[in-house]
Symmetry: C2
């Protein structure tokens, strides 16, 4: 009762040619005679033949798919608008290459397992520090790999901005406006680290940048209130709410626009619009509603496109490990105001 699928063999039998001839008719028509090609293709059409894509991929050793590794629960990750923008961009490049894009969540809560089982030709991650175990698997699987905003390990390809300088810039702008009572909202630790705790995460690099800026004002990180939150609007609201319970800053400095937007939304709700907020990412450039958010702008489109292009050239063997740095800028907005309270 199990309907048998039509295989290349059926075409061969029906048309009187060999499997090989059939394969050639599809992939290298020039290798066999015109009439053979014609008859075979006609037969294939009669039988409604569709090559089994998995068998085909297995033969040629390609998956025709890139993988995007999600560091945490996928529903969470996909709430991050900056990550969405990067994924969009990666997906666009995939489409141009005739590739699919596979979203890969941790498998049985294990990123490691997910990497072992990912049926893709290459992997992109974002903000995930690659620990030894994952790195080992990638090596053994000969899986090309690009890390966006990842750790600084030199053996894997990276695409990022100068995080430390960007963070320093961000904080400096805030300090220049006279702010001293500052609340910092970082990214969640766990999302940006592998199973091994690393000291070289995106967070630590940005904190180093903050410290540099603060030093010029004889301040340190200890003079700020620091909390972490997901790069989502909802979590930004919640985090700001909690912080305001114990502290009233003159400015919120966040490590994501999403969190900053959440902060703004809460401030509006509390009628505390006099408090400033500065974001990080610049997500508004893709038709997102404009809030006039002051923020560090780094092009998600560029990051995604650079990563995917690099990955493809690694897959083609045309490129080895590279470290690409993309530019950033600071956008003055309406949400970073001169501090009048002193």
């Amino acid at each position: 009762m199990k309907a048998k699928r039509i295989t290349i063999q059926d075409i061969a039998d029906r048309s009187g040619y060999s499997k090989t001839a059939v394969s050639f008719a599809f992939n290298s028509p020039s290798r066999i005679s015109k009439e053979a090609v014609e008859k075979i293709l006609r037969t294939a059409k009669e039988l409604d033949y569709i090559p089994d894509p998995m068998a085909r991929n297995f033969s040629i050793g390609r998956h025709m798919a890139l993988g995007f590794l999600m560091p945490q629960r996928i529903e969470h990750s996909l709430m991050n608008p900056y990550m969405q923008a990067v994924i969009r961009s990666v997906a666009g490049v995939c489409q141009e290459h005739g590739y699919m894009l596979t979203l890969i969540p941790p498998l049985h809560s294990s990123v490691t397992e997910a990497v072992k089982n990912a049926t893709v030709d290459g992997l992109i991650t974002m903000g995930l520090t690659i620990d030894r175990s994952i790195h080992g698997i990638l090596q053994r699987r000969h899986l090309p790999f690009v890390s966006i905003d990842g750790s600084g390990e030199s053996s894997i390809s990276t695409v990022s901005i100068d995080e430390e300088l960007a963070a320093e810039t961000q904080m400096r702008k805030v300090l220049e406006k006279g702010h001293r009572k500052i609340a910092v909202i970082t990214l969640p630790d766990d999302a940006y680290a592998g199973s091994e705790r690393s000291s070289d995460t995106i967070i630590s690099r940005r904190k180093a940048g903050y410290s540099r800026a603060l030093a010029d004002y004889s301040m340190t990180l200890d003079d700020l209130m620091i909390a972490s939150c997901e790069a989502t609007i909802g979590d930004g609201m919640r985090t700001a709410e909690k912080m305001l319970d114990s502290f009233t800053p003159t400015c919120f400095v966040t490590m994501s626009d999403a969190a900053a937007l959440g902060v703004l939304r809460l401030l509006a709700k509390r009628h505390k619009e006099e408090i400033s907020a500065v974001g990080f990412d610049g997500i508004e450039d893709d038709g997102f509603p404009s809030y006039g958010l002051a923020t560090i702008v780094q092009s998600a489109r560029k990051k995604g496109a650079e990563s995917a292009s690099l990955l493809f050239s690694m897959i083609e063997g045309e490129s080895g490990v590279q470290h690409i740095t993309v530019p950033f800028s600071f956008r003055e907005g309406r949400t970073l105001k001169e501090n009048k309270w002193k």
Copy 2:
């Protein structure tokens, strides 16, 4: 120079057992002796063996991935926040099942080709009318399939709301507020149709709903100004701008929240906040900034989850074709105002 991958055969050789024994050690440890399992696994660890996921999938005839078919250029589709929310939800269910989610753009501009080559165990689409050719491929490939907001063909599984009734409700609310000069922004035709033009699209069903509501006020669709636009904020703005050139409605009725948000943004820019706008989708429920948008609310989460769950049970052979209807509601917001101009 091509580094050889470790295969099951290497483990067999090294450990002194057969390939079969090795396979059993991994998949059915109880099938062979404890010591054999132990020795084999130890050997596997020594050699850093990782089973080739493609070969494994090929053997068991599973891809361990669901596919989400994108009707148009992927970067466009992913700008649609409602689609994003659905994808998020689908991805969440996939994760629970230990599956990946593969985004499938048209291949060489052809949805048909994409469906032929998709290496997935099942397919979900959204708002795409499935034409004969696609349907045929799905049949021949025995590929389980669920259509969200799709056409009413009874041979394929669907998950949707009562589009006609929802649209009727939406328009009725507008009419009840006294609006008569109404601008309607539909979805793009092409995104919601396959290669064969179908008369039973989401757009036509909603228009039928509008007509029903209008009839009670002795009006027809011809009394409205109608344009179409992508379900994105950016396109909503552009479309509203264009419409305002030739017509000044008292209310915009849109088929997506994204378009409605674009309209609102443009109205704010033009200082025409007195004009009303009503959306369709209810995307604000996921931490999206609240604009107080009046809209038809249909849960993206529920739609995605229902679709994915149904698809999984179809894959398991536990379920056949089903038509699932999810509820909708109307949310009174601040953007639908009483018409004072008459």
